[in-house]
């Protein structure tokens, strides 16, 4: 840093209170719900500890370079995503518009997931927990049929929370309780982002640090539960054979990419509020490593609890069989215990095989219970809630768990909203005299009204669609164009000079190689593989249909054509912005009949635009 005192930049751009706030915001944006409910699942199904190998390779060659690129870009140009890409070249403005659009789409559905978390949170203050008991049927002779055939936890999630329809084409009605929670969630988002980073900077201290505290508490609690060690061994036992499957490598690459929240424009916005002389290289490495470490750290309590749940289910299975045997043979109580169950069974099988066969005992296998892997909302709202019922003091654990999920999601929402807010502020949609609070209010209000669609009966099917199509393919395309745009249009020589000016030391060869060749190549391969895999079979979904023969299994259905069209639209719209804007500028230049200057003169934007 320079010895002479720097003149404060009089551009009126807000800035972070301190460096820690900035780093914490980036970490909060990157660390989200996926770190808790997607990474442990991937670890489990892709051979445990062996999954870490493709994961860290992807982190090194894809995650960190792209993260460094985005942070350096935002810091250098000091503008949000749309403004930054317009500055680099008007033909690349579409990249900014594309990331802005993705941020909008993701914000809409992400906050609805937080709505579900909030609903579970406010229901955790009751004794007994509402998802632990089945409600009674009309004449009070037994339990509600739908609940009885599946489980109480499933019933609370599918009926009491979502009130889900059996088919995506049936919209159902608005669920008023979800509308209330949605309003509250958007009010919280408005409260925290009301003045941009002035307010999110304060809120992030709580929302980014609190999850780590709760994860630690769950870690300590989880390790003391019976069966935790089985779960952990199951998670981390490496099975190197899985590395031969290309699907594993694809999953690792996509997980790293989406986990770091790249190509949303939010990171560019965060970095744009930095002073230009800031070490963005160190920031990028720090954020990426903290994000991956958090994923690993979170998988330990998750799997301890899953191991506990599997062990409890196994014990329940054993106990049920034991009761049946004792009733059948009129043996005294506590003659058969879990430990000598196998010896008794073999003895009884040899002496009275017909009686044992007549009992139709279920085979209890711990591995089978451990193999039931779930990810996503199923993990949090079905599996974990079931495990929480079995813990002593369930209300406290439930409250802690859902506050943690809410904080994780909220800090990611800050990044999403910032990716929407900053470009709009710079485009001056509202007059400059109007307060910032008005713009954030308008954004939150419009988003709330659009997100009301997700509170319909079929809402969760739509959220799956948004997650799979709007929040996946466009990001890969945008990131690819980001790297290509910076390296080949802005020219890597100029950019490395800029980064040198910002960080104060020469750009490492590693960044040169990854930015020029490895990252674009990797992105291209991942994109092709991803699209090929999606196209292999017609897009389908699983529906919760109480009238299905195989109930409580979910029914596999294919999307109707109009829904498929919407899926394609969601995936294509942000991507198509890139060539559209370029075409628009090309046509404009042709009309002006000036020399199309694709490459701006050799003036660095970092040091040139000092404001």
């Amino acid at each position: 840093l320079s010895a002479t005192p720097e003149t404060p930049k009089e551009d009126g751009r807000p800035k972070w209170d301190n460096k820690f706030q900035y780093i914490l915001s980036c970490i909060g944006f990157a660390v989200g719900l996926g770190n808790v409910w997607r990474f442990p699942y991937l670890c489990q199904i892709h051979g445990g500890g062996a999954f870490l190998i493709p994961y860290f390779i992807a982190l090194l060659f894809e995650g960190i370079p792209l993260l460094h690129l985005e942070l350096a870009l935002g810091q250098c140009l000091r503008k949000g995503s749309i403004g930054a890409w317009n500055t680099i070249s008007p033909y690349l403005g579409g990249v900014g518009v594309g990331s802005w659009m993705v941020s909008v789409l993701v914000s809409l559905y992400y906050n609805t997931v937080l709505t579900w978390v909030m609903w579970y949170f406010i229901n955790s203050f009751q004794e007994p927990l509402p998802w632990s008991v089945c409600p009674l049927n009309e004449n009070r002779t037994g339990f509600n049929e739908e609940c009885y055939e599946s489980t109480a936890v499933n019933y609370f999630w599918y009926r009491k929370t979502l009130n889900i329809t059996p088919d995506i084409a049936e919209s159902g009605t608005f669920q008023w309780w979800l509308i209330l929670c949605l309003a509250a969630c958007w009010a919280i988002v408005y409260l925290c982002t009301i003045r941009g980073i002035e307010t999110t900077g304060k809120a992030i201290y709580v929302t980014a640090i609190f999850p780590y505290l709760v994860l630690t508490i769950f870690l300590i609690q989880g390790l003391t539960l019976p069966g935790a060690t089985e779960g952990l061994i199951y998670l981390f036992t490496p099975n190197l054979n899985t590395l031969k499957n290309p699907r594993v490598w694809l999953d690792a690459a996509t997980q790293i990419f989406f986990s770091l929240s790249l190509a949303f424009g939010g990171l560019i916005a965060f970095a744009s509020y930095n002073p230009t002389k800031n070490d963005c290289e160190k920031d990028a490495v720090t954020v990426a490593i903290v994000n991956s470490m958090t994923s690993l750290y979170a998988s330990i309590p998750v799997f301890s609890v899953l191991g506990f749940k599997a062990t409890t289910a196994y014990w329940d299975c054993l106990d049920r069989n034991i009761i049946n045997i004792i009733n059948e043979f009129d043996l005294p109580e506590e003659s058969i215990m879990r430990q000598n169950y196998t010896t008794w069974i073999s003895f009884l099988n040899s002496s009275y095989p017909e009686k044992i066969a007549g009992l139709k005992l279920k085979s209890c296998d711990l591995q089978e219970f451990l193999d039931q892997s779930v990810s996503g909302t199923g993990l949090a709202f079905i599996v974990f809630t079931q495990a929480i019922i079995l813990m002593p003091g369930s209300q406290a654990w439930a409250i802690l768990f859902f506050i943690m999920l809410f904080s994780l999601g909220l800090s990611s929402m800050f990044g999403n909203i910032e990716g929407v807010f900053t470009p709009l502020l710079e485009l001056q949609i509202i007059p400059k005299s109007a307060p910032k609070e008005l713009l954030s209010g308008i954004i939150c209000l419009i988003s709330f009204l659009i997100a009301l669609c997700f509170t319909l009966g079929s809402g969760s099917y739509w959220i799956d669609i948004f997650d799979r199509y709007a929040g996946s393919v466009p990001l890969l395309v945008i990131a690819f164009f980001e790297v290509i745009g910076v390296v080949y249009i802005y020219k890597i020589k100029r950019f490395s000079k800029d980064v040198e000016w910002m960080t104060g030391r020469k750009l490492n060869l590693f960044w040169q190689i990854t930015w020029r060749f490895i990252s674009p190549l990797l992105l291209l391969i991942v994109f092709m593989a991803f699209v090929t895999l999606q196209m292999q079979k017609p897009p389908s979904y699983t529906a919760w249909n109480p009238k299905y023969e195989g109930f409580p299994m979910k029914e596999e259905k294919v999307y109707p054509p109009w829904v498929q069209a919407i899926c394609v639209l969601l995936a294509a719209l942000p991507c198509v912005c890139v060539p559209l804007v370029a075409l628009f500028h090309l046509v404009k230049q042709k009309h002006r009949s000036k020399e199309p200057s694709l490459v701006p003169p050799e003036v660095s934007f970092c040091q040139g635009t000092n404001s």
Partner: protein, 182 residues
């Protein structure tokens, strides 16, 4: 506790009590309740005879109804519950869970919403106040600058008067009362 003959006696007494309460016939005695096939697992069959009708057994449905009516008392006598003391073929009517008048979640939601709205109002109001203060400060600064301008624009700069063309009035100069006395 161990199951012995005394417990069996208590059981017979409870069944007799149930029959008496149900049919309000005070004729049922403990000797009317017969246990058979007692096993180690503590399971057995029992019948209730009717001494007034020539040692015939009371129909099962009546016994079922009687026990169902007094299930709670029987359970409590043995410190057991519906799950641990099972009468085969008698399903217990399940008690509905206690439902408060307003669901609990609505109350919690109200609390959360009030906090959020209070926060938003506070931030908006403080924002408006800061905006007004900034506006007032900037207008004050503007007024100050204007006054300075006015004094200069009067034709004769005030500083020039002070420094250059100033006659000291002898009458007042000798007056030491320029400075106020302490």
């Amino acid at each position: 506790y161990a199951w012995d003959a005394n417990e069996e006696y208590l059981f017979k007494a409870m069944v007799a009590f149930a029959m008496r309460r149900y049919s309000s016939k005070s004729a049922t005695q403990i000797s009317n309740v017969l246990l058979c096939n007692v096993t180690d697992r503590v399971s057995f069959w029992f019948v209730v005879t009717d001494s007034s009708k020539n040692v015939t057994t009371v129909p099962g449905s009546e016994v079922e109804a009687a026990i169902r009516m007094n299930r709670n008392r029987i359970n409590n006598a043995f410190l057991l519950s519906d799950k641990t003391l099972q009468f085969l073929k008698i399903t217990s009517t399940l008690s509905p869970p206690v439902e408060p008048s307003t669901p609990v979640w609505l109350i919690v939601f109200g609390v959360v919403l009030c906090l959020i709205v209070a926060g938003i109002v506070f931030l908006i109001v403080s924002g408006i106040q800061k905006h007004r203060k900034k506006n007032k400060e900037s207008t004050e600064r503007e007024n100050l600058e204007e006054k300075v301008e006015v004094t200069l624009e009067n034709g004769i700069p005030c500083e020039a008067l002070d420094l250059k063309a100033g006659h000291i009035n002898g009458v007042f100069a000798a007056d030491d009362d320029r400075f106020t006395s302490l």
